[in-house]
């Protein structure tokens, strides 16, 4: 989940590049509303966040961001079909119990989805596993015993998941320390950012 310290994360700029100015955005697991605030300033979007955490709701109110308290695990039942241009799930997919359902819900409520997640296939993660330990890094800052992450995946896993479910990947960005990764993304990329739509 978002750490809520208000520091702009590298995936935010990547997301902002894709989001059309003036569009409607739903940010799932929006934390303190930093991303929505950023998109509002950069892209003049309107939108809402969804959060379960009381402290995050309070932070959103303080930051002047519209937020709806709710549990993503229960789906997006309060939201109409295709009522948003983009539904964003930023660094939360890996912490969802029902990752498949939320991807489906994102494409029901949004015309398009944007998802970001730490790439478990990143070489530093592989190295730590090769050394016999669960990876701990900037993008995976938790120890095995206190991690909220239950569904970690690699770039290759996610793309196969999308292929099998006819989810069309519109664009992909792979980042390491905020810089784009070109070659061997599944090995060299720490963070994956996907823009996707219906029908693959």
């Amino acid at each position: 989940m978002r750490n809520g310290n208000g520091i702009q994360r590298p995936d935010f700029a990547a997301i902002a590049e894709w989001v059309r100015p003036g569009s409607r955005v739903l940010d799932l697991g929006c934390g303190d509303g930093t991303l929505l605030g950023y998109l509002k300033a950069q892209r003049d979007i309107s939108g809402y966040g969804v959060e379960i955490d009381d402290a995050s709701i309070l932070a959103c109110v303080r930051n002047g961001v519209n937020v709806i308290q709710g549990d993503l695990e229960r789906g997006l039942s309060g939201f109409e079909d295709h009522s948003f241009d983009y539904v964003i799930l930023s660094q939360t997919l890996q912490a969802m119990k029902n990752s498949e359902r939320i991807m489906k819900e994102m494409l029901r409520v949004g015309l398009e989805g944007i998802v970001t997640f730490p790439n478990f296939g990143y070489w530093k993660n592989r190295l730590q596993i090769a050394r016999g330990h669960m990876p701990v890094s900037d993008n995976l800052p938790y120890e095995w015993f206190d991690t909220p992450n239950v569904h970690l995946c690699t770039i290759a896993d996610f793309e196969r998941f999308c292929r099998e479910r006819r989810i069309r990947i519109v664009e992909r960005k792979v980042l390491t320390r905020g810089k784009n990764v070109g070659q061997w993304p599944n090995l060299l990329g720490a963070l994956a950012v996907y823009h996707f739509g219906n029908g693959g």
Binding site: R24, L58, V61, I68, Q69, G70, F79, S83
Partner: protein, 370 residues
């Protein structure tokens, strides 16, 4: 601070078609209206409350305003920054024109002749009070329960006249179960031999027995099962069973005490009408049940709050309002406060709830001139 009275001589046509030629509204204000008149907040009361929203009167420290934990200097609705208005609604029994007031046409109390009012009528009369006080647009209109229904109605009736609506522990209409509870309350009052068809004032009696039962039923629905279990459980008043119909369990004693208190000060005709106000509220009705369309005129930003154990106006009902607002692309924040107290939670001092309202009013204040 002391209650003030505004007298209106322009007739008001009510939703039921009846016309009241002249009427008075009793209200209280807290804080100071700023120079550009942009810091006014209207607080709408629920079933049995009044214009006495906050603070105490000089020489009467007992009579604390009903939302004093929320409203006052340094409180979530900070009266050092905002000019807060509390008003006793039309048909009430705390000083505004109501069934126990004298009907100028007959020189006798209105009694049964006092028309059945609605949330729309109340909002209309509140808008006239705002005119009188020179307030073109409220910074916020807020309320809990039936008070929240008025805040919601404001956004429909006068979308230009408020910038924010705080809709707390609300529902877009009453469920059949809710109406059923109200009907039990009404039947208790109407079948009391002291009711005299609503014209009991001339008989020197009040239908206290009916009003007591009405209050008991209502009160039970405001609390959660858990809260009652915690507060009373099966605790006995005298430590042992008496095999009689005296008060035995603490909950019975509590209910009777609350009922006695209530029947002393509240007017039965007002109670009847307020339950009707609740039953009739249904802004979606005129739009084929479509709440989204009903709320389409709204321009305000909304803060919608519900409480997890509120079974009278459950979180699901608040989410219906939120869904409609989302459909309309209105500015809305929705919070579901985990609180054990049931519907009454909106009146209680809960840190998370109050922090949220305080933060929201901070935002309102930051967009408001000092």
């Amino acid at each position: 601070m002391a209650p003030q009275t505004a007298k209106f001589t322009e007739p008001i046509t009510l939703k039921c078609g009846a016309v009241i030629d002249e009427y008075e509204l009793v209200y209280e204000t807290y804080g100071t209206l700023n120079r550009d008149r942009s810091n006014a907040v209207l607080v709408c009361h629920a079933l049995n409350a009044s214009h006495h929203v906050a603070g105490v009167y000089a020489g009467d420290a007992e009579n604390v305003g009903w939302w004093d934990n929320m409203i006052g200097p340094g409180k979530p609705v900070d009266t050092d920054r905002f000019f807060v208005i509390g008003v006793n609604n039309l048909g009430g029994c705390h000083g505004s024109t109501g069934p126990k007031s004298l009907n100028p046409a007959t020189g006798k109390p209105w009694g049964a002749q006092f028309p059945v009012v609605t949330v729309e009528d109340w909002v209309k009369s509140q808008a006239r009070l705002a005119d009188r006080l020179g307030i073109g647009q409220f910074a916020a209109v807020m309320g809990g329960s039936l008070g929240a229904m008025q805040a919601l109605q404001w956004t429909i009736s006068y979308p230009e006249r408020l910038r924010h609506a705080l809709v707390i522990a609300c529902a877009p209409n009453l469920s059949a179960q809710n109406i059923a509870f109200n009907e039990i309350a009404r039947q208790a009052i109407i079948t009391d031999p002291d009711f005299h068809g609503g014209d009991y004032y001339g008989h020197g009696v009040t239908p206290k027995r009916g009003l007591r039962v009405a209050r008991m039923v209502g009160h039970v629905t405001y609390l959660s099962d858990d809260e009652m279990a915690n507060k009373f459980g099966r605790e006995l008043k005298h430590g042992k069973l008496g095999y009689s119909f005296d008060t035995e369990f603490q909950i019975e004693s509590y209910l009777r005490h609350q009922a006695d208190k209530f029947a002393e000060y509240f007017d039965a005709n007002t109670y009847l009408r307020i339950t009707k106000v609740l039953d009739y509220f249904d802004p979606a009705f005129e739009h084929g049940g479509n709440l989204t369309r009903a709320l389409a005129p709204a321009k305000a930003s909304f803060l919608v709050i519900s409480f997890t154990t509120d079974w009278r106006f459950s979180p699901e009902r608040s989410r219906e309002i939120v869904t409609a607002l989302l459909d309309n692309r209105s500015d809305v924040t929705y919070a579901e406060i985990e609180a054990p107290h049931g519907h009454d939670a909106f009146l209680l001092d809960d840190a998370r709830y109050h922090r949220l309202v305080a933060a929201y009013f901070d935002r309102i204040g930051s967009g408001t001139a000092p």
